[in-house]
């Protein structure tokens, strides 16, 4: 599975950044081999639309799942329409730890109520 994690740094020891649109790095990780590609989030300082821009980036990389904190409504809508699953990390943990929890089915999948 190819997953992307919003992260505070550029390697697996970095922590999960629980902000999706405003995180400094995205780590694209193969959950089996743990091969990792780090991409700078150039939308982190965008005046608006950081969430949608990041969702676009993630979709172009054809990931199966996102691991982040609470994803905002616009980004959520894009990821939902593209069929990308979102898994929520609620504690301050490393990316490596988050991937382990993901593999053990210990992460909650994000559902948003549509108003």
């Amino acid at each position: 599975m190819k997953i992307v994690i919003s992260a505070t740094g550029d390697n697996l020891s970095a922590h999960v950044d629980r902000r999706f649109g405003r995180c400094p790095w995205f780590l694209f990780v193969d959950s089996e081999s743990l091969k990792c590609e780090a991409v700078v989030n150039e939308s982190a300082d965008a005046a608006s639309g950081a969430g949608t821009a990041c969702a676009q980036l993630v979709i172009e990389k054809e990931v199966d799942a996102v691991i982040s904190g609470q994803v905002g409504p616009n980004a959520y809508e894009v990821l939902r329409q593209a069929g990308v699953k979102i898994f929520v990390v609620s504690q301050d943990i490393s990316v490596r730890e988050a991937i382990d929890r993901y593999k053990n089915n210990e992460l909650r999948q994000m559902e948003m109520r549509v108003f």
Binding site: S48, T52, Q56, N74, V78, Q81
Partner: protein, 278 residues
């Protein structure tokens, strides 16, 4: 002459000053450009005779013509368009209506349609032509509506513009191209901090300014000192007075409630005029 009334900090008395100043004129235009929370109508009580819907152009995508190349998403400065495999997602509240997406679309699959963001109302209050904008609730973008309010300024007419507080885009849009900006502040650390921000904004816009200190007998002397150091004229001070607050709470204009202030507002207008002509 176009006079804008602004302040860095909110709740310092912009509308109090702007409405009293307007009454000093024989005739003129009053524009409430605080379109997120217009309140000057509560004081000037205009008779509204015209209501105009204001919209911005937003893209409408014809997916049968679309090749999903993603150029529209790429060009959008505000990330309002996302292209996924066989779908274009549009987020209207992020769109600034620039038209870049329809311009760049190689398939001519995007046309622009109008999306209402608010209304402009015109009316009359005594000798004053009154215009204000009302932004629809939840709408994030005020500047296009403010531009429509300001379209009613004719060259040669006197106009007072009541701006929103702060130094963000709506304020810049409201004060832009005014001949003089009156900055209302209070002599407190918050008042001073935000006054400095407002002065910096006006210097970038090269608009001359003067200061009105409201509730002048509370707080400290630091606003006065700042104005002296920066060579910014203090054009009026208003004391803290419970009667002013009471009149405000009832929607009564300051110089109507306390006629002894009438002269001082005429003088204020005279001072601004002299500074403008200098």
């Amino acid at each position: 002459m176009i006079i804008s009334v602004a302040s860095g900090k909110g709740g310092t008395g912009k509308t109090t000053i702007a409405t009293s100043l307007a009454l000093c004129w024989k005739e003129g235009l009053f524009l409430d450009c605080d379109v997120e929370e217009p309140n000057a109508h509560i004081f000037l009580k205009p008779h509204i005779h015209e209501r105009i819907s204001v919209g911005i152009p937003v893209p409408e995508v014809d997916e049968s013509k679309c090749s999903f190349c993603g150029k529209c998403a790429e060009v959008c400065e505000f990330n309002a368009i996302v292209v996924i495999k066989k779908k274009v997602l549009f987020f209207p509240e992020l769109c600034h209506g620039c038209g870049g997406c329809s311009y760049i679309c190689p398939e001519k699959a995007i046309k622009e349609v109008e999306r209402e963001i608010g209304v402009v109302e015109r009316g009359r209050s005594g000798k004053i032509d009154f215009i204000h904008g009302i932004l629809n609730v939840g709408e994030p973008m005020a500047p296009p509506l403010i531009r429509q309010v300001k379209r009613h300024i004719n060259s040669g007419t006197n106009a007072i513009i009541d701006a929103s507080p702060g130094t963000s885009c709506p304020v810049v849009e409201a004060v832009k191209r005014s001949d003089f900006c009156l900055l209302v502040t209070e002599p407190t650390p918050f008042g001073l901090n935000d006054l400095k921000l407002a002065v910096e904004m006006l210097r970038k816009l090269t608009i001359p300014c003067g200061v009105v200190i409201n509730c002048a007998d509370i707080g400290d002397e630091k606003v006065q000192k700042y104005c002296k150091d920066e060579d910014i004229p203090i054009l009026m001070t208003i004391p803290w007075d419970r009667r002013i607050a009471e009149a405000y709470s009832k929607g009564i204009i300051l110089i109507d409630a306390l006629p002894e202030f009438k002269n001082r507002f005429s003088q204020l207008y005279g001072k601004i005029e002299r500074l403008y002509k200098r």
